[in-house]
């Protein structure tokens, strides 16, 4: 632990810290453009110059200089001030003065730092350099004249995303950032370079010229496009969500989010259900709430009533539905709408037990039936980190393009029982072995075999639990905690022949078996579920209601309401509360606070933000064998996995441009 002096203040810094980090520990602000905590050190912007003794009698780039014992660092000397002014002056030589028409304006590092550290006036009278725009796909807009060559985008795509596609061509003043032959950046995290770009060179294409940062209301929310539960910030203006940005949470998403989480928000204002609809003479017609409630009451469901939760609903909605059904005398609730029926008697067996931070430290990882890049792009980033530290990765399932070296063991699940010798050795030698079971494996009933694998290779030991199930529905873990599951899955519900079926935004399920039932869709988008419904009750999306979500590692997180739902749409719990009145039953809550309190009384873990404890892993039983081939992964099109994304013009464009013309989702009725 070297001791250094920063501006006369002596502090002790951790081994391996840089001078820049030492200054930050001492509470000094060091301006920087190229340095980023999560990327490698480039040292090419020179903005972080400080004076360091002992050393050469000139300012030094603090980001790339290790802090050593006895250093005297000055960040406030005249030399540092003029050095910063000089660097800033050079950076601005070729930077256009187009802040008034630049989307980065108001949240631009260069703007802020030139105010804080620049000279104030220009002495430059020659022509400025101009650089042609580069095409980088439907999400990233480029104005390369503004580029200051920090290479953060290059380092991000190489180091974090693992897809070498952005590079710096030519040299010196002519240096240009581009993709190879200006092809679109094609990975699920591509838009994070927009946040990384310290200037307005890479900005958001869908959000171009839409709003200024100071006009926006910022709401802390949780992403529901997958089960990672990325922490996001929704920026809204009036009743419209303008954009979603990542929040920093080192346990979950670090500071990245997937392109889908970022860009599906334009779908929040398209194809919305903003009126009550009822099917009359085979066609859905606008109706009133009263009419709809009367029709549901007229069906006299009694206890023949079921509720199926979709992938994006919050825990409160599910609890309210369960309470309603309970009051009616029914327990027919299910969240696994595609008909999966894995055992949920012990939630530890269906949880991502290693945690996302933990999986980084695994040294042998078996992925069974999961296209992780598409099912949880940010978990793939973690596994990539593990591989960089020397982990070996094996995959059972059809080939997909990993961003790290991985060995595919074929798509036959029976390989789990008879692993090749080198794989067995890798897991026997591993200190922190892990298995990740994906949806495709669960659908084939491989959960037992996974548990058996965990047992035979000692995946659970002191301070390490290597058994992981990776879900991709934001509602899944919350639903399972609330008991939204039948032993036989959806089949049990079908067998019970309910007279009324509530679909809580369930769009991926098969409505065919419920042909005789009154199908009530409580959701926000005119998607598959609404097409099949007899009655549509317009509800709120994740951005339009407070709610609790549990991610695939069992992390309870709370999202806030950013905007109001459009038209007649109401928050889901109020609809369910009104239905209780229509069905003449008591559910025991009249406000959101009461509902939440009741939910926490029943499942206390939902009341505490953070990891829920599920206890010990159950025994797998050595008899459990996995069989069958995984023909395909459940996600066919990364950009169109949920009703919001399917409604989003940006996601449709991504799907057709980047994935080669996936089918366009049908228009709403």
């Amino acid at each position: 632990m070297p001791k250094v002096t920063v501006d006369g203040q002596e502090i002790e810094v951790p081994d391996g810290a840089t001078v820049l980090q030492a200054c930050e520990l001492a509470g000094k602000e060091i301006p920087r453009f190229c340095y980023h905590e999560r990327l490698s050190i480039a040292g090419n912007c020179r903005m972080c110059l400080v004076e360091v003794k002992p050393g050469p009698p000139k300012p030094q780039a603090s980001c790339a200089l290790p802090a050593t014992e006895g250093q005297e660092i000055r960040t406030d000397s005249e030399m540092v001030k003029t050095a910063r002014e000089g660097v800033m002056e050079f950076l601005l030589i070729n930077h256009p003065l187009d802040c008034p028409i630049c989307d980065q304006g108001g949240e631009c590092d260069l703007q802020d730092q030139s105010v804080a550290y620049g000279r104030g006036a220009t002495r430059y009278e020659e022509n400025k350099r101009a650089v042609t725009e580069k095409y980088m796909g439907p999400l990233i807009k480029t104005v390369m004249t503004r580029c200051i060559h920090c290479t953060r985008c290059v380092r991000f795509s190489e180091e974090i995303a693992g897809v070498d596609e952005i590079g710096a061509l030519y040299r010196g003043e002519d240096m240009q950032i581009t993709t190879y032959l200006e092809q679109a950046a094609e990975h699920e995290l591509s838009a994070n370079v927009i946040d990384l770009c310290p200037v307005g060179a890479l900005t958001s294409r869908p959000y171009a010229f839409e709003a200024r940062p100071w006009e926006l209301k910022k709401t802390l929310s949780i992403d529901v496009s997958d089960a990672v539960g990325s922490n996001i910030r929704l920026d809204s203006r009036g009743r419209e969500v303008m954009r979603a940005l990542p929040r920093i949470n080192d346990d979950v998403n670090e500071e990245w989010i997937s392109d889908k989480a970022r860009y599906q928000v334009d779908g929040l204002s398209k194809r919305r259900l903003d009126k009550v609809f009822m099917r009359k003479r085979g066609k859905l017609q606008p109706a009133s709430w009263d009419e709809a409630f009367k029709a549901i009451a007229k069906a006299k469901p009694g206890k023949d009533i079921a509720a199926i939760a979709g992938d994006m609903v919050d825990c409160e909605t599910m609890f309210a539905a369960k309470a309603l059904l309970k009051a009616c005398g029914s327990t027919l609730v299910e969240g696994r709408q595609t008909g999966m029926d894995y055992d949920v008697s012990n939630l530890a067996a269906v949880n991502f037990n290693s945690t996302f931070g933990g999986i980084e430290t695994a040294d042998a990882i078996m992925i069974v039936g999961s296209h992780i890049r598409w099912e949880a792009a940010l978990v793939n980033v973690r596994i990539r980190k593990a591989v960089k530290r020397g982990a070996r990765v094996f995959v059972v399932g059809p080939q997909w393009d990993t961003t790290y070296p991985a060995e595919f063991l074929g798509d036959d699940l029976s390989v789990l029982g008879e692993l090749p010798k080198h794989v067995v050795e890798a897991f026997k030698d591993a200190e922190r072995p892990a298995i990740i079971m994906g949806g495709a494996a669960l659908a084939k009933g491989a959960l037992g075999a996974g548990l058996a694998f965990a047992e035979s290779y000692g995946l659970v030991k002191d301070g390490w639990n290597g058994f992981n199930v990776l879900h991709f529905s934001a509602a899944r873990m919350g639903g399972l905690m609330l008991g939204f599951a039948q032993k036989g899955g959806l089949k049990d519900i079908v067998a019970a022949k309910p007279r009324v079926v509530f679909s809580l935004g369930a769009d991926e399920m098969d409505f065919e078996p419920f042909a005789d039932a009154l199908k009530v869709y409580i959701g926000h988008h005119g998607d598959r579920g609404a097409h099949a419904a007899d009655i549509i009750l317009p509800a709120a999306s994740f951005a339009e209601k407070d709610g609790t979500y549990v991610n695939t590692e069992g992390r309870v997180q709370f999202a806030e309401k950013a905007v109001f739902a459009p038209g007649d749409a109401r928050e889901d719990w109020t609809i369910l509360r009104a239905l209780a009145d229509a069905l003449k039953v008591e559910v025991g809550f009249d406000s959101f606070a009461e509902l939440q309190a009741a939910m926490i009384r029943e499942v206390p873990a939902l009341g505490e933000e953070g990891l829920a404890a599920y206890g010990a892993l159950p025994k797998g039983g050595s008899a459990a064998k996995a069989e069958g081939r995984i023909a395909a992964y459940p996600i066919k099109d990364f950009y169109l996995t949920n009703p919001i994304a399917r409604a989003s013009a940006v996601m449709q464009q991504c799907s057709s441009e980047l994935l080669g013309g996936g089918e366009l989702a049908e228009a709403a009725e």
């Binding site: 070498d164 596609e165 952005i166 590079g167 061509l169 002519d174 190879y180």
Partner: protein, 222 residues
Amino acid sequence: MADRSPAPDTPELRERWGGFEFNESYRARADKAIARYPEGRQRSAVMPLLDLAQRQVGEETDTQGWLPLPVIEYVADYLDMPVIRVLEVATFYFMYNMKPVGKYHVQVCGTTPCMLRGSDGLFETCKKRGMKKGHVSEDGLWTLTEVECMGNCATAPMVQINDDNYEDLTPERLDAVLDALAKGEQPKTGTQEPGRHTSEPANALSSLPEMVDANHDYRKDW
């Protein structure tokens, strides 16, 4: 600075160069270059490989050679590295030609010492022969490029043609060199000054004369 952008990616380019592969002798040299680096560090050989590829293209087209995009992709594939990384290297260094060049690539140094010693005259000479900066002459023989310092300031002005340097030039001497090359002869490389061998002083020793016979400590003179 010269335009370093790669030649456009056209169907014709793909058709001509899409099937590019190292021939036997170049493959041997490429593998030898790769073998210089430890296992797992093969991409360090990207610069020699690009040079070899350029030379083979040169042999195939009877020019100095250049790097069409499919050839760059071939090198990337050969080293199993992302093509954008190879393109970064190729566009950075001037020894790689990104556009087709003539049989002789005349690189005239225009940096200060050469300019003071008359490089403007050399450009004139080249222009008189129909060379134009950045273009291949009509007979396919010449490409003229103005380059920055090539490190021959003691024998300025200089010109680099393909792999050889020609130094101590005057317009007449450059004419002679170019005439010989055009005839298919190999002119004397290096300095063109009669009586001079390399970059030794042209006349009497003018600096550090006391150092000729023995070491001399100049510090007391400062």
